[in-house]
């Protein structure tokens, strides 16, 4: 475990010294800045607009960071042959995978914290005294973090056997499809043909379901945050369980693939 943390720390260093991170972080903060301007011209919904834009930007750019850095994590080590110096040390391949994953997750956590701070700053700039309801926004950020956990695990899994570009395409495709799992189940209701219907149901359970992290009860989590509605605790807990379990499964798969690899 200690070695996992050492690798994670170095990966974190790698990430924060990467330019792409700053580009994306800059974009997010710029959007949050723009939301302040937009909020001022809107009539009555300043808070909602700021929270909507900030959370959307945090979610979108967080996903981009997870995909772009995540798909390069393992590949870069293979491509630049830095993996030789690592695997020849007393380090298990599973420790390497886990370390890389934890490293990127800590980068993302710091990023989310910075971006949320930016959003709160925007609210503060508009002269909104920070109320306790503002904490509900953090619930949405937490749901975004869970989602990023899963995206990163997918990206990492693909990057153990594929190039960054292909991995990014696969991950992005799964991310998009993963938002339609519920629709897929509904489609199965309509497709009465047994075979295609069953395939749809099976796929909707097998593929990662990202709507678990965006919908709480009847409401979109981001929307309920913007309206300061308290999120349902049970949905958040279930989403947590889902995020951790599914990510763990993907990491196991990643380790399994990685164990078999030759580093030519």
């Amino acid at each position: 475990m200690r070695k996992v943390l050492i690798i994670a720390r170095t990966t974190f260093k790698e990430n924060i010294r990467d330019k792409i991170l700053y580009n994306l972080l800059f974009f997010t903060l710029a959007i949050i800045g723009v939301s302040v301007a937009l909020g001022q011209v809107s009539i009555g919904h300043e808070q909602k607009i700021i929270i909507d834009m900030s959370l959307s930007a945090i979610s979108l750019f967080g996903t981009l960071i997870a995909i772009f850095i995540g798909t390069g994590l393992v590949y870069k080590e293979l491509d630049k042959r830095t993996i030789y110096n690592l695997i020849s040390k007393p380090v298990r391949r599973s420790e390497f995978i886990l370390g890389k994953y934890l490293g990127l997750m800590s980068t993302l956590l710091v990023n989310l914290a910075l971006m949320s701070a930016g959003a709160y700053l925007a609210l503060w700039l508009l002269g909104k005294s920070v109320q306790s309801e503002f904490l509900y926004v953090l619930a949405a950020v937490y749901a975004i973090f869970l989602q990023l956990m899963l995206v990163t695990a997918i990206a990492l899994m693909f990057s153990t056997f594929s190039t960054p570009v292909l991995s990014a395409v696969f991950t992005f495709a799964l991310w998009v499809i993963g938002h339609f799992s519920t629709e897929m189940k509904r489609l199965a209701d309509i497709l009465r043909s047994a075979v295609t219907g069953h395939i749809c149901v099976a796929l909707s359970y097998a593929l990662p379901n990202f709507s678990n992290f965006t919908i709480s009860g009847r409401e979109n989590l981001l929307k309920s945050a913007a309206h300061f509605h308290a999120p349902q605790l049970t949905t958040l807990m279930l989403a947590t369980a889902y995020g951790f379990l599914y990510s763990a499964l993907l990491l196991t798969l990643a380790v399994f693939i990685f164990q078999k690899r030759d580093f030519k």
Partner: protein, 317 residues
């Protein structure tokens, strides 16, 4: 720990976590309360705005909205609730705005819209509106005129408007001959039953998909049942007038020599007499789908039966 044990443990762990994921998902699905009647939210209803958001994928969006419309129309309502079709028209409108040349959307859309509850929202005027949009975008498709006339005739009982629609369609170069005669039939004061039969027969023959064909077949069957029922009930009245007895069973008609046997509905089940409702109905066990006609249609038929009856009575034996 041996290597084999480790592998078994890992496989077990993976299977266990898959099961757990499935369990969590089922739990989440139960908690994600869907609004009654499925997803009733349509985020953007303004087709123009949506078109700008589509980034050039309008054609694909049209397909998606059309698929959504079909899904929406075809979904199974949960038991306790009545089927709502509030989103049907906006979905069809979006689809036809993205791709104005998808003829099936207008035709099926009009069919969906005009059917009355429970199999449709019963909004023939919106169907006409959709068909007019189709005619405007595709002026050479005679089928739209046929469909439009159909909706006027069948759902709105407007013979004149129906006739006009059929005539307009008949003028198109590709239109079939029978469209003109259909116009004539519906403009004239012919019996409703005959016009209907004519209409549904053509719908049946022109059908491009099995669902349309079976719908037409159901309607044709229903017309047959209507005619049979009215005929039988007419005989029942005459029987009671003549004998002064109250009919309890259709076999009495057979015994009295009015009919040679009890007729069967299109599924082959003999009709039954319901003493409480004082009417003839398809057998309860019959599997036939039956949409009864409105009472006005019966009046014309009644007159026809009366005159037939008179003719039979006065004719030399």
């Amino acid at each position: 720990m041996t290597r084999l044990n480790a592998r078994l443990l890992a496989t077990g762990g993976v299977i266990l976590s898959m099961l757990l994921i499935y369990g969590v998902q089922v739990e989440i699905d139960q908690r994600q309360a869907h609004p009654p009647g499925g997803d009733e939210t349509l985020y953007v209803r303004d087709p123009e705005l949506m078109r700008r958001l589509s980034l050039g994928y309008e054609s694909l969006l049209a397909d998606i909205y059309w698929l959504r419309a079909v899904q929406y129309y075809g979904r199974k309502p949960k038991k306790s609730e009545t089927q709502s079709y509030a989103m049907l028209e906006p979905l069809l409108n979006l689809a036809t705005t993205f791709d104005p040349e998808m003829t099936a959307v207008y035709r099926f859309g009009a069919m969906f819209l005009s059917e009355s509850q429970p199999i449709g929202p019963g909004e023939p005027l919106k169907a006409i509106e959709l068909l007019n949009k189709g005619i405007m975008n595709n002026p050479n498709v005679w089928r739209f005129y046929f469909d439009k006339g159909f909706v006027y005739l069948w759902h709105l009982k407007d013979h004149k408007a129906a006739g006009r629609a059929f005539l307009e369609g008949a003028r198109l170069p590709a239109a079939p001959k029978w469209l003109e005669s259909l116009a004539a039939t519906s403009m004239g004061e012919a019996g409703e039953l005959e016009t209907a039969r004519y209409l549904w027969t053509h719908e049946f023959e022109e059908a491009e998909s099995e669902s349309v064909r079976s719908n037409a077949r159901n309607h044709l069957n229903s017309l047959q049942i209507d005619e049979d029922r009215w005929r039988l009930e007419f005989l029942v009245t005459k029987f009671q007038e003549k004998t002064g007895r109250v009919l309890t069973d259709l076999n009495q008609l057979v015994n009295a020599g009015c009919i040679r046997f009890i007729p069967t509905d299109p599924s082959g089940a003999p009709y039954e007499y319901d003493r409480d409702a004082k009417g003839v109905y398809p057998a309860k066990a019959s599997k036939v789908t039956y949409f009864p006609l409105k009472a006005e249609a019966r009046k014309v038929f009644q007159q026809k039966l009366e005159s037939e009856w008179e003719a039979a009575r006065t004719a030399p034996q």
